[in-house]
Subunit: 377 residues, 2 copies
């Protein structure tokens, strides 16, 4: 028996209590029952986001939420500063192209963050309607210093949009304290749910911008969502079963304490990085995110064979590198419903397959290193 | 004990087998396992839609699918003929306004269909890029003759877009035979699922149009979905648990036979209409849809009190009239996971509350009429 374990950076494992909640009979969303549920969910989202502002819930993927954030706060012909260091940042740049905004793209190599000073210089040189960045770039397992960039935009009229899809509920995200105007996330990452919901917090500054920007999209119209939100309602039919599951998952996060969730995620990441170093592989990123670790492959390894063996023999699912990073590394998620035994377990599995496929190393070195970090030794 | 019964025209009841399928552990969507599942789902969708063309699955509400259909096939400045006879048609007209298309709106009173001859005349008088109509207008419980309008557009370059949200899986929808280019539906209606997914079939004509139309939206970009579809894939993270449930629900529809589902739905509608007449109330629509029946309130009745009593005392959920129809009628759905006992049961409940709230009628007349129709007498 090898239990199925998901170490992919979304979807992640869903707690049994959440799965069972979602299996309950469906009820109607235009009822006081739904409003009462949604009111509680909205308070829990504020806690998870560390914000006093509305956190909107939409039915769709993180891409929908990112597009919604941009099209509602950036006017026609507006200027946008994109920070790009991975596949997801590149997708947001594509949204800029489709909308023909006046875009400036600050690029960093995969595995590096755009230096904060570069952002400061760009903001001094020109006025931008918005800055769009990826807090935790899942594809390159890389974190950007959101707090430092928030300090640059907070006393300006520039809207700071952060893709927090693999950050919220995993890394410290202090939305209000850091002055981040819009933080996006998705249900299937650190929030411990299946895919299908996405979220965005909206600061007063972003709300004011959205009230001025005219855009044609109805489904992703931020003002429609805001108007309904104030009545604990949604403009379009919501994915009710997922919202029920969300209530249970966020209640678990609140019970654990968001700071404890951050610490725990960070501990697993540290243990995994220690193991990668002990195995002589090293981590892919020079600015590693605590939500997902990219471990470099030994020379000559084939991604498909390595991950295939891990899945077939041990029922462990880790992720491939994306795009040009494919074959260079594999990725292990630390988000959500994962504990120290799971974390130790995936290193155990990785060692077994590394050895089997001919990599020369001190067998057990990774497990020993992870074990020590996890035990706080 | 009164079991909870949903007679609302979305959400509708979800079969227990579907609920349990969705409670299974989440798996990753970028896998062969997902492609295999999606390939089967796509075949079942074609069967349910009676089409050989792709039926795209998106994570979102029916509104997202309707917007996707329009923005991808109607060029900037394009001309659209809208048929409007209810709240949902009015929402699609609003999408036209937001996109500043050249719109012609043929209006009918709530409860009536726009006459086919009016559509024919409009199509003769002017060229239209698209015709947008609501096959089953849920708000006014009214059906439009989709086959007749399909005959008008099929040999032209006009794209026919049908909101089939409460039609697909309930009323006969012969997508290819009738020449309908895009048929939209949502998961929480006759497809027996919770809300969160929406669908649209795309004819070759619509595919060609979409290939020519440039539009900025990324999340609802039809060409991205089509490209992925050919590989049994999706461009953005799908709501995996709902897709699993969809497979089970569509398998049930296939096992019953789509024609049998249509017949059964029609039988429940006939029984409900017969009961409404026998009770001296009558049905709201002059062109009643078989997916949802609007029953007129007796003079002096208050919607909130009537539906509230039905819910509190008997745990039966029927829907209010929408907009200006509020207070004039209540609505009973016949879609999806509902049987003849449920149908007889809601008439039984309606009679109890009608009597309790002072309406004078022959107690039992509605149940007797429904019983006869359901028994095929």
């Amino acid at each position: 028996m090898n239990k199925m374990r998901l170490f992919t950076p979304g979807p992640t494992s869903v707690p049994e209590e959440v799965l069972l909640e979602m299996a309950k009979p469906v009820f109607h969303h235009r009822t006081q029952q739904y409003k009462d549920l949604f009111a509680k969910v909205n308070e829990l989202l504020k806690y998870t986001y560390q914000t006093k502002n509305p956190v909107l819930t939409i039915s769709g993927s993180g891409t929908a939420a990112a597009e919604m954030a941009m099209i509602n706060t950036i006017p026609a012909g507006g200027s946008v500063l994109f920070l790009s260091n991975g596949k997801f940042a590149e997708r947001w740049v594509k949204i800029g192209e489709r909308n023909k905004w006046n875009a400036t793209v600050l690029k960093a190599e995969y595995g590096q963050a755009v230096p904060v000073q570069q952002v400061a210089d760009a903001l001094k040189a020109k006025h931008f309607d918005a800055v769009v960045l990826v807090h935790s770039e899942t594809s390159a397992c890389t974190v950007t210093d959101l707090a430092a960039i928030g300090a640059l935009t907070r006393n300006t009229d520039t809207v700071l949009i952060s893709d927090g899809i693999t950050a919220v509920g995993a890394l410290p995200v202090k939305t209000d304290e850091w002055g981040v105007d819009i933080v996006i996330t998705g249900s299937q990452k650190a929030l411990m749910l299946p895919p299908g919901l996405a979220f965005l917090s909206v600061s007063e500054k972003a709300q004011k911008k959205a009230a001025m920007v005219k855009q044609p999209n109805l489904y992703l119209d931020l003002m429609s969502y805001l108007k309904s939100y104030n009545d604990n309602d949604v403009p379009w039919t919501p994915a009710v079963t997922l919202v029920r599951g969300l209530f249970v998952a966020l209640t678990q996060i609140q019970a654990e304490g968001i700071e404890n969730v951050w610490k725990r995620t960070s501990l697993y990441a540290s243990a995994t990085r220690a193991a990668a170093v002990a195995l002589g592989l090293g981590v892919f990123s020079q600015s590693p995110s605590d939500s997902v670790t990219g471990i470099n492959y030994p020379a000559g390894f084939t991604d498909k064979e390595f991950r295939g063996a891990l899945r077939k023999q041990l029922n462990m699912n880790v992720a491939a590198g994306q795009g040009t990073m494919e074959g260079k590394m594999f990725r292990i998620s630390h988000m959500g419903y994962v504990d120290q035994v799971d974390t130790l377990g995936v290193i155990h599995g990785v060692e077994i397959i590394l050895k089997q496929q001919g990599y020369k190393f001190e067998f057990g070195a990774g497990v020993a290193a992870a074990h020590k970090v996890l035990a706080g030794a």
